[in-house]
C-alpha cells in the first residue's frame, strides 16, 4: 500500500467547527461521525454535496425563468412609465447611452448567474461522470464562481435602494416587481449551490482513477 496522498486515503478528517483532526475509521450504515471534542457532526467530504448542489442549482434554474420573464422594476416618472424586465432594462440603459451601467447590470444580472449555473452544472457533471479533464482549471473555475456569485446581489441592492430613495409620489416612483424577488432567490440559491459543492470531489475522482490505474 502506497503512502496515502490525501487525508481521505489516510482516513483522517477534521472538525468543521473546531478543526480537530481525527481518525475516521469506518462508519456503519445509518450512523454518523461526531467530533470527540466539540460534538459537531464530522464528514470526510461535504455532506450530500452533489445532491444538495443539484437541488439548489435546479431551484435557481427554475427561479431564473420568472426572474427574467417578470419585470424587476417599474420606473414611473410623471405618471409615465412601464415595467422593465432584466433584459429590457439593459436595452433601455444602452438606448439611454449608459454603456458602463448597462455592462454592469448585464454582468451582474445575466452573465454571472448564467455563468454560475452553467459552471456548477459542468462541475457536477464532471464529478458525476468522474471526468479527469483539467482538474486544476475546474477548481479555479469553482473558485471564481464562489467568489463572484455574491456580486449578482448588486442588482438587488440597487433596486432596493432605488425603491427606497425614489419615492416622490406622482413625480417619480420606482416599484420592484416580481422578477426582482425571483432574481434575489436565484442569487441566494446559486450561492447555496456553490457552497454546497465540495471541490475536493474533483480530485477524488482523479484519486480513484489513479488507484484503479
Amino acid at each position: 500500500m502506497k503512502a496515502p496522498r490525501t487525508a481521505r486515503e489516510a482516513h483522517l478528517l477534521n472538525c468543521h467547527v473546531c478543526n480537530k483532526l481525527c481518525f475516521a475509521g469506518t462508519t456503519p450504515q445509518g450512523s454518523m461521525a461526531v467530533c470527540p471534542r466539540c460534538g459537531a457532526t464530522m464528514h470526510l467530504r461535504k455532506q450530500d454535496s452533489i445532491a444538495r448542489t443539484w437541488a439548489f442549482l435546479i431551484t435557481s434554474i427554475i427561479l431564473y425563468i420568472p426572474a427574467n420573464v417578470y419585470p424587476v422594476m417599474t420606473v414611473t416618472i410623471l405618471g409615465k412609465g412601464e415595467p422593465d424586465t432584466i433584459a429590457s432594462g439593459v436595452v433601455a440603459l444602452i438606448n439611454a447611452g449608459m454603456w458602463p451601467l448597462a455592462l454592469i447590470v448585464f454582468m451582474a444580472s445575466i452573465f454571472v448567474p448564467l455563468l454560475k449555473m452553467l459552471g456548477l452544472t459542468v462541475l457536477l457533471l464532471s464529478v458525476k461522470f468522474k471526468w479527469r479533464w483539467r482538474p486544476v482549471q475546474r477548481t479555479v473555475m469553482y473558485r471564481i464562481i464562489e467568489m463572484i456569485g455574491r456580486w449578482s446581489m448588486v442588482d438587488i441592492f440597487m433596486i432596493s435602494i432605488l425603491v427606497a430613495v425614489v419615492a416622490f409620489g406622482n413625480l417619480a416612483k420606482i416599484h420592484a416587481g416580481l422578477g426582482a424577488r425571483a432574481f434575489a432567490l436565484v442569487v441566494v440559491f446559486t450561492i447555496f449551490a456553490s457552497m454546497s459543492f465540495d471541490p475536493r470531489l474533483i480530485w477524488d475522482s482523479l484519486g480513484d482513477d489513479r488507484k484503479k490505474g
Binding site: 445509518g30 470527540p36 450530500d48 439548489f56 435546479i58 435557481s60 427554475i62 427561479l63 405618471g79 440559491f189
Partner: protein, 664 residues
C-alpha cells in the same frame, strides 16, 4: 496512524434528506406562476381605429374609469384601408367589458372652450378609453373604435332628456347645463331630428340634480350675452363665463308650478332666451299655436307682414297670428287670414278695427321701435256689433277709442300745427292725455282734433277749459329781452296741447268741442271782451293782425284783422280795444301809425324822435289820443270808423283828457 489521532465518535443519523424540498417548492412556485399566467392572461381583442396617432404597442394602456384594465399589444395597418388594427389584451378582471355595445376611443388632450380634458395624456401619452355596453350584452372581441370621446354614457345614473330647438346656437358637447348658474349637467350630443326640422340636443343631468327637472321646467339657451335694450337703458345678461364662451343651457321652473318629476328621455322645448322661456310668454305662444277662430282682414298692402310670423296684438298681448296672405280677387288689396285665439273670439265683431303698427318718428318720439326688431304687428281693437269674420284694415291707427276710459273731447282749430296722433295733452307740463287723431270739419275750413284725456285726469277738464297749442318753442323777442317758453321737450318736437281751467264750472262731457288757441296768451286773452272799431288807412304798412294799439304808450288793444275796403281805395283795419278802455275812444279821437322809425332831423330843432316805445316803433302798431274833455265829443258805439293817420300832430300828443274807465 490510528493511534496518532482521536477516533471519531459514531452516532445514528436520520435517514431523510430535506434538501429536495427546496427545488420542489421552487418548481411548485414556477408551476403556479405558469398556471396563474394562463388563468389570468386576459382577453385578446382587436379594435379598428381610423388613426393610430399616439398609440404605441406594449405601452398604450386601456383604462376604464381611470383604472388600467389592459394594454395594446400590437398595431398594424389594414391592407387596402387607411385604418389601423390595434390588438390589445384586457385584464382577466376586465374581460367582461368586451361585449356588444362597448365603445373604445382614444383619449387625447383636448382643449375646447368648454373645458380642457385629457390633460394627463400630455405626459403619459394617449390611452384608450373604454365604455362598456349594456350589461348582458353578447361577448365580442372585435370592435371599431372612435377617434373622439363618445357622448356621455346613456346608462349613467342621472337624468337624460332631449331638448328640441330651432337651431343649435353655440351649444356643443360638454356645454354646461346651468340651474341658477350652477352646473348641474352637460350637453351630451346634438343631432338633427328625423324630419330635419329640429335639432335634438341630448342633455345629461347629474343624478343629484335630477329632481330639479320637472315636467313644467323650461329650458333656454344661455350662451352668449343677452343685451336687452330699451330707452331706459341697456341690460346685459350673461350666464357663467364658460357658458358665455361655450354656450350652455339654463333652466328654471315656473314659480309655484311644480309639475311631476321628469322621466328619462322626456322632450322639452329649448327657448331662445330667458325672456321667451318665461311662463307668460310661453303660455301666450301656446295659445297662439292652438287653433283659434279664423278671420280675414283686408289691407291695402301686405308690406312688412309675413304669414306665420306677424301676430295680432291687443293692448300688447298676442291674440292671433297671420296664417296666410293672398291678393284680393279684384287686386284692390291683400287679404290676410288670421287665426285669433279662443279668448279673443269676443272681439271679432262688427266695428272691430285692425291696423298695422310700424316704426315711425312720431309725436312721442320714436314709436313702434320694437317693431324694428320684432317685425310689424297688427293691432286690434275689438268691436261691439254682431259677430263678423271679415274686416277691413286701417292704414293708420284709428281715432280715439270710445271705449277707453277717460274723457274724449274735440278741439277745433284753424290749423293743425305740428300735432299728430300721440301728441301729449299737458297740464302743468304733466301728460294727462293724448291726441288721438284729427279730421276736417265738414266744410273743411278748420280741423277737428280728437283728444283723449286719461281717466285719472278727466276731472281737470271743465266746460270753460281753454286749450292752446304748445308746439315748438315760442320765442317772444322784445327789446326788454328774449322770452322763451316751452312745454316739455316732447312737445317741442312732437307738438302738444296744454290747457288751463278757471275755477268752478261743470265738468266737460264726452265729445264736447273746444276752441284750440295758438298760444297761451291768446288762450288767456279772450277773457277780456273787446270793443271793436275800424280804422281806415291808405295803406297797411307794417301793421298786421296782433299788432298792439297804444294809448299813452300803454297797450289797450290790438289789431284783430284787416281787409281791403269794398272799393279798394283804402284798407279797413279792425282793432279790438279792451272793453275797459273803450271810454277812451270818442268821436274826436285820433289814430296814427307808430310803425317804422320816424326821426326828423332839422338844424334848428335837432333830432326829433317819435315818442312811442321802441318796441312799437320797431314792431309797428297803432297809437291814439283823445282831445281834452271839452273837445272829445260823444262816446262812439262799437264798429265806429276812424281814419288812421300816418303820424301824429304835436298837439295830439299834448292832449290830457280825464276819462273814467270802466270797472273791470
Amino acid at each position: 496512524m490510528e493511534k496518532d489521532f482521536d477516533r471519531v465518535e459514531i452516532k445514528k443519523k436520520s435517514r431523510f434528506s430535506f434538501i429536495w424540498v427546496i427545488p420542489l417548492v421552487a418548481a411548485l412556485i414556477g408551476c403556479y406562476l405558469v398556471y396563474d399566467y394562463y388563468v389570468n392572461r386576459g382577453l385578446s381583442i382587436t379594435i379598428i381605429f381610423f388613426s393610430g396617432e399616439g398609440l404605441e404597442a406594449d405601452k398604450t394602456l386601456i383604462r376604464f374609469e381611470g383604472v388600467e384594465v389592459g394594454k395594446v399589444t400590437s398595431i398594424e395597418l389594414i391592407r387596402g384601408k387607411k385604418n389601423v388594427k390595434v390588438s390589445a389584451t384586457l385584464d382577466k378582471s376586465a374581460a367582461y367589458l368586451a361585449r356588444q355595445g362597448t365603445i373604445f376611443w382614444v383619449v387625447k388632450p383636448q382643449l375646447s372652450a368648454a373645458r380642457i380634458s385629457g390633460l394627463e395624456t400630455m405626459l403619459t401619452g394617449v390611452y384608450i378609453g373604454i365604455r362598456p355596453g349594456k350589461e348582458g350584452g353578447v361577448k365580442k372581441t372585435d370592435f371599431v373604435g372612435l377617434d373622439k370621446p363618445p357622448p356621455a354614457d346613456p346608462n349613467r345614473p342621472g337624468l337624460h332628456i332631449i331638448l328640441r330647438s330651432q337651431d343649435l346656437g353655440s351649444l356643443q358637447s360638454g356645454s354646461p347645463v346651468l340651474y341658477r348658474q350652477i352646473e348641474v349637467g352637460q350637453v351630451e350630443e346634438h343631432k338633427l331630428a328625423e324630419d330635419n326640422k329640429w335639432v335634438d340636443v341630448n342633455l345629461y343631468i347629474f343624478e343629484e340634480y335630477a329632481g330639479l327637472v320637472r315636467t313644467t321646467t323650461r329650458f333656454w339657451n344661455a350662451g352668449g350675452v343677452t343685451v336687452t335694450g330699451s330707452l331706459s337703458g341697456l341690460k346685459v345678461r350673461a350666464e357663467s363665463l364658460s357658458a358665455l364662451l361655450a354656450g350652455g343651457v339654463a333652466f328654471d321652473n315656473p314659480p309655484g308650478d311644480y309639475g311631476e318629476p321628469c322621466e328619462n328621455n322626456a322632450v322639452f322645448d329649448l327657448y331662445e332666451d330667458r325672456e321667451s322661456a318665461s311662463a307668460e310668454v310661453v303660455q301666450e305662444k301656446e295659445e297662439v299655436l292652438a287653433p283659434g277662430i279664423p278671420i280675414t282682414i283686408k289691407f291695402k298692402t301686405a308690406e312688412g307682414i309675413e304669414s306665420g310670423i306677424t301676430v295680432v296684438k291687443y293692448k300688447g298681448i298676442t291674440v292671433g297670428k297671420v296664417t296666410e296672405i293672398s291678393v284680393a280677387e279684384d287686386l284692390s288689396g291683400v287679404i290676410l287670414s288670421v287665426q285669433l285665439v279662443e279668448k279673443a273670439k269676443g272681439g271679432a265683431k262688427e266695428g272691430a278695427r285692425f291696423w298695422v303698427v310700424k316704426p315711425g318718428f312720431g309725436a312721442e318720439g320714436l314709436s313702434g321701435l320694437d317693431t324694428i326688431i320684432s317685425g310689424r304687428y297688427i293691432e286690434a281693437r275689438p268691436g261691439h256689433g254682431p259677430p263678423k269674420s271679415d274686416f277691413i284694415g286701417l292704414d293708420k291707427p284709428p281715432l280715439s277709442d270710445p271705449d277707453e276710459p277717460g274723457l274724449h273731447i274735440v278741439l277745433k282749430a284753424p290749423e293743425l300745427g305740428s300735432l299728430s296722433p300721440g301728441s301729449p295733452v299737458l297740464h302743468q307740463q304733466v301728460k294727462v292725455g293724448k291726441v288721438e287723431g284729427h279730421e276736417f270739419t265738414e266744410n273743411g275750413d278748420s280741423v277737428l282734433i280728437h283728444l283723449h284725456i286719461f281717466e285719472k285726469f278727466a276731472g281737470l277738464v271743465k266746460e270753460q277749459t281753454r286749450f292752446w297749442n304748445v308746439s315748438g318753442i315760442q320765442v317772444s323777442a322784445g327789446l326788454s329781452g328774449i322770452k322763451m317758453r316751452t312745454e316739455s321737450l316732447a312737445a317741442i318736437i312732437g307738438g302738444g296741447v296744454a290747457f288751463e281751467t278757471p275755477a268752478g264750472g261743470k265738468p266737460a262731457r264726452n265729445g264736447q268741442v273746444f276752441q284750440l288757441y295758438t298760444d297761451y296768451e291768446s288762450a288767456s286773452a279772450p277773457a277780456v271782451e273787446t270793443f271793436d272799431i275800424i280804422l281806415q288807412a291808405e295803406r297797411l304798412g307794417s301793421l298786421g293782425a296782433g299788432k298792439p294799439v297804444y294809448y299813452r304808450s300803454v297797450q289797450v288793444g290790438k289789431i284783430t284783422g284787416y281787409e281791403l275796403a269794398d272799393t279798394a281805395d283804402h284798407v279797413n283795419i279792425h282793432v279790438g280795444i279792451e272793453k275797459r278802455y273803450a271810454p277812451l275812444i270818442c268821436e274826436n279821437t285820433r289814430f296814427w301809425n307808430v310803425s317804422g322809425i320816424g326821426m326828423n332831423f332839422s338844424i334848428l330843432s335837432g333830432a326829433k324822435v317819435k315818442t312811442e316805445s321802441m318796441e312799437a316803433i320797431l314792431a309797428g302798431g297803432v297809437a291814439f289820443a283823445t282831445p281834452d274833455n271839452k273837445k272829445m265829443g260823444k262816446p262812439v258805439s262799437e264798429g265806429a270808423v276812424f281814419k288812421l293817420y300816418d303820424e301824429p300832430k304835436d298837439k295830439w300828443l299834448k292832449w290830457k283828457p280825464e276819462i273814467k274807465l270802466f270797472e273791470n
